[in-house]
Every structure is written in structure tokens, then in C-alpha cells.
Amino acid sequence: MIDYSEAQIWGLIVVLGVGTFLIRFSFLGLIGNRRLPPLVLRLLRYTPVAVLPGMVAPLVLSPAATGGSFDPARALAALATLAIGIAFRSVLGAMAAGAATLYAALWLLA
């Protein structure tokens, strides 16, 4: 459960909203047609793929639902999601494969 005050949550929403807007408005509004240094462009290309895997790895290896101990059903579901995502380049297809694997494994291993 979330343990922050209402003011903190709204503060977060506003700060994230303003920060995200500034990122999106950067070139369209502020910087215009100037070109970015190639190194910066190169780093920007890897931001989502640099952050999301590190966030998801602990959630897969020590799920909160099992009190943090390794859970074969959830690990299998994670593998299936990743494999289908890589093979078919489809986010929704990967989610469906992950959910189907999770339910099948939870049922079989129960």
C-alpha cells in the first residue's frame, strides 16, 4: 500500500507533469532547430531500455506476493512474456502470453 500524504502525491504528479512537459516541449518550444550533440542523442536512445529492466528484475526474482521468495510460476510467466515480446515484437501479445503462462503455472504448481 502507498504510504504518502495527499500533498506528497499531488506534489509528485505536478513535478512529473512539469518535468515531462519540459522534456516534450524542449525542442518544439525552447531549443528550436538546433541539433543535439550526437553523444546526447545516442544516450537518449537507450533511456527506456536502461531503466525498465533494472526495475523489473527484482520484482521477478523476489515477488511481493510470495513475501519476496522466488516463485517458479511468476518466473516462468516472466520468461514467456520476454520470449514472446522478443520473437513477435508485440507488447499486447507478450502480455497475453505472460498472463496465460502465469495462470497455467499457478494452477499446475498449486
Binding site: 518544439l28 545516442r42 525498465l52 526495475m55 528484475a57 521477478v60
Partner: protein
């Protein structure tokens, strides 16, 4: 005359946005449901989807809120996830860089993966479009996708607290992230960045929540850029 072509483009954009409705709405429902499960009230949940309006960053912020991370770490992580939108912003300048400021500001706020992709594909196929027509087209696409994102967030939030525990919704978030990661692994550089992100994040799991992830993200970005440079050097 200018008004009527603007309207035509707005309508064309809206039609182009329609196929994204079934793609976007499950994520929005999931965000609403997970936020409700985590104890976020409806107003704050809708606040995220209207003020921040960025899927992956919203999920990331929600996960770190549940973990009890420091506010600074949540802000830094969610904004890092959104940094790619600076590239989208730069890519739109040649198309709509000359339209009035309020239109550019509106386009900026509504510039996320789906609106950007749908619009740029169309611009490239129709190079004769004027900047004003392009802006109208973008706002047409966004005018369909953005309300759908917010509406389905509300639907998810209302359903969220009624979903039984046997649905194992706890794992919906990891599955969503993993489903987004798979298609991102397009090159060896992307795969290397993902691997470094995982290894460093796990190695630093003992640090206060969110801090290890930031270090992992920085190391992974540097890895991706370095591997890209190396493979370019080899190809040249």
C-alpha cells in the same frame, strides 16, 4: 479555406488514432486498477493520466510509490523513462516547428509513443502537407488517443478495488514492463544496456529504494551508447 483543410486533417488524424484505441486502453485500465489496488484515490489516479500522460513513467512512479522510495528518486526515475521524448520533440520540429506557440505547447503535452509514431509515419508518406495541416493531423490523432487513455484509466480505477486476489494482479506490472522490454531489444546495444541494467540493479538492491535503479540506468545508458559506437566502428 485554411480552416476547412485544418478540419479535414483533424478528422484524418482522428481516424488514424482509432486503431490505437484497443492498444492503449488495456494499459490504461491496468494503470487505473493497479493504482486503486495500491490505495491511490481516483482524483490522483486521473491526475497521473492527464497531467503526466506517459504510460511507462506512470507505471514506474506507481511501482516506486508502492516500494516507499524517496520522492527525489521517484521523480528522477520517471523522468529518465521519459527522456526519450526529447528525441520525439526534436523530430517534430521540421514538421510543426513554425505553428503558433499554443499549438506547439499542446502538441508537446500530447507527444507520446503512439501519437508520435502515427503522425510521423503519415508526415513521411505525405511530404506536401503544410505545418498547419500537420499540426491539425497530430491533434486529431491525440484527440482520440488521449481521452481514451484517461477514460480507461477511470474505468480501471473503478474496477480495481473489486478484483479478487486469485487473479494474481500483483504480477500484472512486471508482465507489462517485460512486454514493453522485449520489443525494445532491437540491437546488441539495446540488449547490452538491458543486461547491465538488470545486473547493476540487482547488485545494488541493498541501497535505498530507487537509488540503485538510477545508478543502474546511468550505467546501462552508457553501455548502450558504447556498444553502438563500437559496432559502428566495426561496420565502417
Amino acid at each position: 479555406m485554411a480552416g476547412s483543410t485544418g478540419k479535414t486533417q483533424l478528422l484524418r488524424g482522428a481516424l488514424a488514432g482509432l486503431p490505437f484505441v484497443p492498444v492503449v486502453s488495456p494499459f490504461a485500465v491496468l494503470f487505473g486498477a493497479l493504482a486503486a489496488e495500491a490505495g491511490l484515490d481516483l482524483a490522483a489516479t486521473v491526475g497521473f493520466s492527464t497531467v503526466v500522460i506517459a504510460g511507462a513513467a506512470q507505471f514506474a512512479a506507481l511501482q516506486l510509490l508502492v516500494e516507499g522510495a524517496a520522492m527525489g528518486a521517484i521523480v528522477a526515475t520517471a523522468l529518465a523513462v521519459n527522456l526519450r521524448m526529447a528525441m520525439y520533440s526534436a523530430a517534430l520540429v521540421p514538421h510543426v516547428g513554425t505553428v503558433p506557440l499554443w499549438q506547439r505547447a499542446l502538441i508537446a503535452h500530447l507527444n507520446f509513443d503512439q501519437t508520435f509514431a502515427a503522425s510521423v509515419v503519415h508526415y513521411e508518406a505525405h511530404p506536401a502537407m503544410t505545418p498547419r495541416e500537420k499540426a491539425a493531423y497530430f491533434l486529431g490523432v491525440a484527440g482520440v488517443i488521449a481521452p481514451c487513455w484517461v477514460g480507461f484509466t477511470i474505468l480501471g480505477a473503478l474496477a480495481g478495488s473489486r478484483i479478487p486476489e486469485s487473479w494474481a494482479l500483483d504480477f500484472a506490472l512486471p508482465i507489462t514492463f517485460l512486454a514493453m522490454i522485449g520489443p525494445m531489444l532491437k540491437t546488441p546495444a539495446h540488449a547490452a544496456a538491458a543486461a547491465v541494467s538488470v545486473i547493476v540493479a540487482l547488485a545494488l538492491a541493498g541501497l535505498p529504494s530507487g537509488l540503485g535503479l538510477l545508478i543502474a540506468g546511468g550505467a546501462a545508458m552508457a553501455t548502450g551508447a558504447a556498444v553502438e559506437s563500437l559496432s559502428e566502428g566495426r561496420a565502417a
